[in-house]
């Protein structure tokens, strides 16, 4: 037993440096020196491998890697982990010949790319997959620009190294020309077999969680708040048998976090000349890890989200969910800066250095405090002035129909006014979306006409529909149903609230270009993200993929998806083939995303234009949630 704590052996060095760094930083502060001092080290930069053009040949093959001090076999695309940066040009037709040199089936999915269903690369939905020894030719016209990525969609292969960046050059003028352009791909590596990780989670869901509440925490809380208040605060969690520390299912206990394939002990290095504008294309290619990213000493101007240009917004920090991308522009002075990406549960980090001089390295900052989930993250009704009081827990049957007047930070007063629609009766759950239920619905409401029906909120402002927990959400497979889920677009999430920094939140995202499809939604589908953490079961509306009917969209329709998160975890939901137009308030500047984080206990809405015929995957992008929290979407003329 080398080190019983979080850090795999190769990280020991960095951890030691990290600890001394902390101490030294503190001492320097005492002396009034800048903590952003420089450490002289010898460094080297090896740029990410890159392919350019419109014809690519890529092999999927085993690759021996060593991220932790132990040799392991990864599955690699194009001979490296991550795979090479694929540089395309908007408007080009690209051809990608992908050969599977593994002993098992494989696939590549082009994440966030709008293309014909047969090119999407999801086995059993868009094509049969790529058999061992076979070559599959992907060929499609690139109709977008920006930062995207690609990954395997077969089994747990993505965890074992099958992911890489895509950068698409715009045909028109780049709105944010920069002097330098770096991809910053974040990922999580484990020496364990993913099947074994999954089995461990099923058998003991907190297997990897070493952030659990201790007696010491409790005593501290009692000292601070007194016994009675502490008891009350803890009561709901204890009755629900839920933990306020379930931030990540899989943690730094087994993961080594990588930045462009570099471990924390190496770090990635990006060079710049002082005065230059540097574009950093952050891609979260992790299997399971959300990262909080900042560059101490630098403001980051976020210019694109999920590859789409947004109105620039300057922030100190952002949280990037699995499969999301953010492009930021920084203008560093003379000096070295640490690009710090800490895992959401603070069990590890990936980092890099932006430096004008390869021998200068920036100090890695200490971890921020462990985020704790709050009653809000449970979707509980907040009794004003009684935060600690006896929050009526609501047992199995408890649910709230009273969400129509839900306050919402990002949505403006207008929304609220519109929300207070009279005569909107709660609908029976099955009626909201009969397709998911797999059972005939009584009085189908799956399509609600927009005219004359006040049930649908205006495009851009989110849903007016009541939150309804359908009957399939009740049973041993679902541990929790939110009582009062809120739109939390202005909430950066647990651990980032009021941390003294300007943190990006979804409410900040305003598309640079006018919303391409300005139509009002014709209908709405409410989907509940459900699960039972302790049994490690995940589903949508309480129905796992294996038992679910496909969701059916009518070709050409504009519809709204409202997600309600009935769990304590963030779920990054990814719709293939079509954009998710996130309703952040202004219908004229709706940001288009391919992956949308649904925060614990919250709800969120986006509009979809069903302009892509065929079958598509729709799922949580956390790899070990995906098998259950998954739907097939079928877009057809009839929509049935």
């Amino acid at each position: 037993m080398k080190n019983p704590l979080y850090f795999p052996s190769s990280q020991l060095i960095s951890r030691r440096r990290f600890v001394t760094g902390l101490a030294a930083g503190g001492a320097l502060l005492g002396l009034g020196l800048s903590p952003a001092r420089l450490l002289a080290t010898t460094g080297s930069t090896t740029p990410m491998p890159e392919r350019r053009g419109n014809h690519f040949t890529l092999d999927i093959a085993p690759l021996t890697v060593n991220f932790t001090g132990a040799m392991r076999t990864a599955t690699a695309i194009g001979g490296s982990v991550p795979g090479p940066v694929l540089r395309w040009r908007e408007g080009d037709t690209v051809t990608l010949d992908v050969t599977n040199r593994l002993a098992v089936d494989s696939s590549i999915h082009w994440h966030g790319i709008i293309l014909p269903t047969g090119m999407d690369g999801v086995p059993e939905i868009s094509y049969p997959g790529i058999r061992p020894g076979e070559t599959f030719r992907y060929r499609f016209t690139v109709r977008q620009s920006g930062t995207f990525w690609y990954h395997s969609h077969s089994g747990f292969q993505e965890q074992t190294g099958m992911y890489g960046p895509i950068v698409i050059e715009p045909r028109d003028q780049e709105p944010n020309p920069c002097d330098r352009d770096y991809v910053v791909m974040l990922s999580d590596w484990t020496d364990e077999e993913p099947d074994s990780v999954y089995a461990k989670l099923k058998k003991l869901s907190h297997y990897y969680n070493f952030n659990e509440r201790t007696v010491g925490d409790l005593i501290g809380e009692i000292r601070e708040k007194g016994l009675a208040r502490t008891w009350n605060d803890r009561a709901m969690w204890n009755r629900m048998r839920m933990s306020d520390r379930d931030l990540s299912d899989v943690t730094g206990y087994t993961y080594t976090y990588l930045m462009n394939g570099r471990t924390p002990s190496e770090g990635w290095t990006g060079l710049f000349k002082p005065g230059e504008k540097v574009r950093l294309r952050f891609i979260n290619g992790s299997a399971m890890t959300f990262f909080d990213v900042r560059i101490p000493g630098l403001k980051m101007t976020v210019v694109a989200a999920d590859g789409q240009d947004i109105q620039p917004v300057a922030v100190d920090e952002f949280r990037i969910g699995v499969a999301e991308t953010y492009d930021v522009v920084v203008e560093p002075d003379d000096g070295a800066y640490c690009v710090f990406a800490q895992a959401i549960d603070r069990s590890g980090y990936a980092h890099g250095t932006l430096t004008p001089d390869i021998s200068l390295k920036a100090e890695v900052p200490p971890f921020d405090p462990l985020p704790l989930l709050s009653h809000k993250d449970m979707g509980m009704r907040m009794n004003m002035g009684d935060m600690d009081g006896s929050m009526s827990m609501g047992d199995a049957g408890s649910m709230s129909m009273n969400t129509m007047d839900s306050g919402n930070g990002a949505m403006n007063a207008k929304t609220k006014r519109e929300s207070a629609m009279p005569g909107m009766q709660p609908m029976e759950g099955a009626d909201m979306n009969n397709t998911v239920m797999g059972a005939p619905a009584k009085g189908t409401m799956a399509s609600m006409p927009s005219e004359g029906m006040s049930g649908l909120g205006k495009a851009g402002y989110g849903s007016n529909a009541p939150v309804v927990h359908v009957p399939t959400e009740f049973g041993p497979h679902v541990a929790m149903r939110t009582e009062n889920p809120q739109y939390r677009l202005d909430d950066p999430g647990a651990g980032l609230r009021n941390n003294g920094r300007r943190v990006l939140c979804y409410a900040d995202l305003r598309n640079l270009h006018p919303t391409p499809d300005p139509r009002e939604p014709e209908r709405e589908i409410q989907l509940h993200l459900t699960g039972n953490m302790s049994r490690y079961m995940w589903s949508i509306n309480g129905v796992k993929y294996a038992d679910a009917e496909p969701l059916r969209f009518r070709y050409g329709e504009r519809l709204r998806i409202t997600f309600v998160n009935d769990t304590m975890m963030n779920h990054p939901m990814h719709l293939h083939g079509m954009w998710s137009d996130l309703e952040t308030g202004d219908p004229k500047a709706i940001p288009r995303k391919h992956t949308v984080i649904v925060q614990p206990g919250s709800k969120i809405s986006y509009l979809v234009t069903a302009d892509a015929m065929g079958s598509w995957a729709y799922h949580c992008h956390l790899l070990y949630h995906m098998a259950g929290m998954f739907r097939k979407v079928v877009v057809s003329e009839e929509g049935k």
Partner: protein
């Protein structure tokens, strides 16, 4: 019994296999949890006690095996086995039903067979509970309630108070069990999780017999009120 087990196993594996991109959401898994494997202090020989569970199955339906017993003087003094079908009935609770068999080493002590039905799960405030009713031959009945709680001092150092109560419907002189509450056990174990799979512990265990059961023990000159130190290991795979 074995046929029953095989049938149930077959049923478990026959459920749907629709997959998302070749990913099995609900794979057939097996687990072994040796909750206690410990030596206790006693006069003369130090007996070894075990208490272990194993299961095979899927998310909601499992075959569950439980065993506990005592090994002393190079032989198994007494042992209990249960084979149960376990079905999730609530987010936190499994309903378990099956058979239990008690065996004794001592000559003249007959085996006892029972039907078992009970609940296993986590109660509010994180009390782990395993409780069951047993129906035996000749109208014998029995009840068991076990609970434990975990005080985490650190992420790896855990203090576990445990309580167990056994009761019987009528006297069974052959196995020296009396009616009413026959036995309680109160334990306090401090374990250190070197890994999730391997956690050594030390502790104390207070075992007390009551009523007729205590009388049977007294007749034999055995302890009916005994505090023992224990040292052992918890294993889980």
């Amino acid at each position: 019994m074995r046929k029953l087990a095989l049938t149930m196993l077959l049923l478990l594996t026959l459920t749907g296999v629709a997959r998302a991109g070749g990913m099995e959401d609900d794979p057939l898994l097996a687990a072994l949890i040796v909750d206690r494997l410990e030596m206790r202090t006693a006069d003369g020989s130090n007996p070894i006690f075990w208490d272990a569970d194993a299961w095979i199955g899927k998310d909601l339906n499992k075959l569950w095996f439980k065993t506990e017993g005592e090994y002393r003087d190079q032989k198994i003094e007494e042992a209990e086995f249960q084979a149960l079908y376990s079905r999730a009935v609530d987010p936190n609770w499994d309903l378990q039903a099956g058979v239990r068999r008690d065996t004794y080493q001592e000559p003249g002590m007959p085996d006892r067979n029972w039907l078992a039905v009970g609940f296993m799960g986590t109660a509010p405030y994180y009390f782990d509970v395993d409780t069951a009713l047993f129906l035996g031959e000749d109208g014998r009945t029995s009840f068991r309630f076990k609970t434990e709680y975990e005080f985490m001092f650190t992420q790896r150092l855990v203090l576990v108070p445990e309580f167990e109560l056994n009761a019987y419907g009528k006297n069974d002189p052959a196995t020296r069990t009396g009616s009413g509450i026959s036995e309680t056990e109160l334990g306090l174990r401090l374990r250190y999780e070197i890994r999730r799979e391997f956690a050594p512990y030390v502790g104390i265990n207070w075992n007390r017999l009551y009523g007729k059961t205590a009388d049977y023990a007294k007749e034999e000159g055995a302890d009916f009120d005994d505090v023992q130190f224990v040292i052992g290991v918890r294993l889980r795979f």
